[in-house]
């Protein structure tokens, strides 16, 4: 009983530590983290097999929330159940939480310093650039036929010109997807639901929209 408990605690501590170290390196985005996680979890520790990585990527990418946190939950749960999942999330969240917290305390003290305010204004420009970059990458992966083009334009129109809550915009996307694919199938058309990827373009097509 006691050795078992100790083994369990050891594995939980290891899970925490692995994600604690990966957490702060997540600057630059979710999908960019997948290779780091793969090296640590598959190659170094053997917690997952290489064949599990594609499952990991698709679950982490489709569940709500960020790819980093979702991957942590996936691996932690596979390795040590619910407790493992919780430790993994704690590990990946704690370092960034601490950094953001310190930053906001720091900012509170220097808010009225003109130099700091000016620097933040400059950084504002850089953040817009990062968001645009993410948008550009998303356009490349998600817009590939007439229907997806219409959906993105409609979504932008709704967001800019109406005050519909984004949650309904998201829901209408899901409904539109099911209806369009259903209609195309009924008409006997060949439905392509994802952009085809060639191995060489895969790197480019990983949308790094999670920073």
């Amino acid at each position: 009983m006691i050795p078992q408990l100790r083994a369990k605690l050891t594995i939980l501590a290891q899970i925490f530590w692995v994600f604690f170290r990966i957490g702060p390196s997540s600057f630059g985005g979710g999908y960019a983290m997948i290779p780091v996680i793969e090296r640590e979890v598959v190659q170094k520790r053997g917690w997952l097999g290489q064949e599990d990585i594609s499952d990991l990527v698709s679950v982490a990418g489709t569940a709500p929330g960020g790819v980093g946190v979702n991957s942590a939950v996936f691996i932690g749960y596979r390795k040590a159940g619910v407790a493992g999942a919780c430790m993994a999330v704690l590990g990946i969240t704690l370092p960034t939480f601490a950094i953001v917290f310190l930053l906001s305390v720091f900012y509170l003290y220097f808010e009225n310093n003109p130099k700091i305010a000016a620097a933040l204004k400059g950084i504002h420009g850089a953040i817009i650039a990062l968001i645009l970059l993410a948008a550009f990458k998303m356009v490349k992966t998600s817009i590939f036929d007439v229907a997806t083009t219409v959906i993105v334009i409609a979504a932008l129109g709704m967001l800019i010109f109406t005050s519909i809550h984004p949650i309904y915009v998201i829901a209408s996307g899901v409904i539109a997807g099911i209806l369009i694919v259903g209609a195309k199938e009924r008409m006997g058309l060949n439905v392509r639901m994802e952009k085809e990827t060639t191995p060489s373009s895969e790197q480019l097509l990983f949308p790094e929209y999670y920073i």
Binding site: G23, S25, S26, F27, G28, V59, T62, A63, P64, G65, G66, V67, G68, V69, V73, Y77, V82, A85, V89, T93, T96, F97, I99, V100, F101, Y107, K115, L120, G122, I123, G125, A126, I128, A129, L130, I131, L133, A134, A135, M138, S142, I143, A147, T148, T149, V152, I153, A155, L156, L159, P166, I167, I170, G173, V174, V181, M193, Y209, Y210, I211
Partner: protein, 177 residues
């Protein structure tokens, strides 16, 4: 307050498809609606969240929570934001690992992905330029635009790391503003 903060971010967490940037319009909507954070303050929060390592949505939750209710607020908002990921990913792994092979799920994402793209484009436009109600082309928005273009050029052409670009534009900001 802490309870409200938790449930608002829990709600946002459950619909945070697409992770970071796509969630910004959602957070702004909720904050504006409740009168918790005004547009100007929100811009500063997104700048701070974006320059920190880690996910921008969770970082924003931490900052807003701290802003509204101190350290406990920061913890509560962050937990609210990540809890849905925890629950949903566990459910998927435990019960329906093969769900992505399901045609309906694929069809949903066929429609959802362009929406997420729209949300991110909107985030860039809105966060960048549209939220100023004053005249569109002031010297300051023009400078912001130039910094953005410079950053895009540096990242795409010279493959600079985002952190380098962020520090550089902070310095440029000190010189310009």
């Amino acid at each position: 307050m802490l309870g409200k903060l938790f449930f608002v971010f829990l709600k946002i967490g459950f619909i945070s498809f697409g992770g970071g940037y796509a969630v910004i319009p959602m957070i702004e909507r909720e904050m504006n609606h409740r009168g918790w954070v005004d547009a100007h303050e929100f811009q500063k929060i997104v700048s701070l969240a974006g320059m920190s390592p880690g996910p921008i949505a969770t970082n924003s939750a931490t900052l807003i929570g701290f802003d509204l209710a101190g350290f406990p607020g920061a913890i509560v908002a962050t937990i609210g934001m990540v809890l849905p990921s925890l629950l949903i990913v566990i459910l998927i792994v435990a019960f329906c690992m093969r769900y992505q092979r399901n045609g309906q799920v694929k069809a949903s994402f066929y429609g959802l992905r362009p929406i997420v793209t729209g949300l991110i484009i909107y985030a860039a436009l809105h966060f960048g330029f549209l939220s100023h109600s004053e005249t569109l082309f002031t010297w300051s928005t023009l400078m912001t635009l130039l910094i953005s273009i410079g950053c895009l050029y540096a990242i795409l052409k010279y493959k600079l790391h985002p952190i380098v670009v962020i520090v550089a534009s902070g310095l440029v900001g000190i010189i310009l503003f």
